[in-house]
Point group: C2
Chain length 209, copies 2
DNA sequence: GTCTATAAACAGATAGAC
DNA sequence: GTCTATCTGTTTATAGAC
């Protein structure tokens, strides 16, 4: 005995609303995007929108939550993997964190909008906090392994290094979102190079193998 | 025969409105900040605000313009100065571009808000464009000098390098604005170190003098 | 489930008294 | 020059017909 028509159809439409909302909010920003625009973009009316979501803010939170789950899944897989070269493991992790910025132009814009709004709205902040923490934590653990293996400049403060590797990844998102001449996919290798430069001692060669 | 009461008093009050507006907009964002809030923060009424400015947007533009003038003046002075070591000249320039981020917590927040809004509003974009262009142009010229002097990795693409030095400076502003545990003043030296790491060849020592 | 019509609150901006 | 009172349009959200 099936439950009328709901099962997948409802979830699919909900997802469709979320997808179109993500693009619109990325382009215009959360504050400037009206619920009416959200409706016309999704091809539905106001009444229908409020049938699927209790309010505008919840739509934004739902958009952020699904992105967060993608990232979390990605990170967990990478942290489990054992690799011989600790620096290369760290670099792989960094690359995977940076890669979404190259997927589609709206992605870095959405990430940046989320970061800004998180700074102003407690609800959005707590939604994002988990992802950021696990991101930094992953970097920290992999960096510790690389340092223990003597592959990183001993004088480089661990907390500072984590902060700056994280900052460099954020910089890729920032430039991809703001600078029209900046192509994230092309610039990704240079991000990797810069991270390596940060880890390497200023006065010494990185000891290979 | 003096002109009634206007001369300095008007300019001083205008400036006071701008100063309080800058802090408020930095904290809340432009869209979330209402004209009423701008008034109560400045200690005046709505009617008075519109006596000094034609509208909300013009207040924001005025805030950005004055910041821009400070930066432009700073850059010009640095570009004129001749220095023996070309890399050091570049590093001095980078440091001066990054330094405002360490001045007061609201400064990086305001800069970031401006960058976001510039991406969405043509008027704000054109107001900011001049500053960004002269910033990148300064980096480009100083980098060219350093490259000509053989102090920079020959294989490093010039445009990429400019983009990433600029991105690193923006990263300092971004982290200072978003990350409460990130102290811009403390992290400035590490920014300098990272820029040096970027310029240095991955396989060779930076040839000193 | 989806729509149209509408309520309730609030935004930016103006009028005009003092 | 500065204020209070008010206009006008828009925004989020709800009611209720189909």
């Amino acid at each position: 005995m099936p439950r009328r028509v709901d099962p997948v159809k409802h979830a699919a439409k909900r997802q469709h609303i979320l997808d179109s909302a993500a693009v619109l909010i990325a382009e215009q920003g959360y504050d400037r995007t009206t619920t009416s625009q959200l409706c016309s973009q999704a091809g539905i009316s106001l009444g229908t929108l409020y049938h699927y979501f209790p309010g505008k803010k919840q739509i934004f939170l739902a958009v952020l939550t699904q992105d967060q789950q993608d990232t979390a899944t990605l990170l967990d897989g990478l942290l489990d993997a054992e690799q011989s070269d600790a620096v290369e493991a760290l670099m792989t992790f960094v690359q995977h964190l940076a890669e979404p910025a190259t997927a589609h132009p709206f992605v870095p814009k959405l990430v940046l909008e989320a970061m800004l709004q998180a700074h102003r709205d407690p609800e959005i902040r707590s939604t994002l906090e988990g992802a950021e923490t696990s991101e930094r934590d992953g970097i920290r653990r992999l960096l510790a392994r690389a340092t223990a293996a003597g592959q990183v400049d001993q004088e480089l403060n661990s907390d500072d290094a984590v902060a700056w590797i994280s900052a460099l990844i954020n910089a890729l998102y920032l430039e991809a979102a703001m600078n029209p001449t900046f192509d994230a996919a092309t610039q990704l290798p240079l991000l990797m190079r810069t991270v390596r430069g940060l880890l390497r001692s200023p006065g010494k060669q990185h000891p290979r193998a």
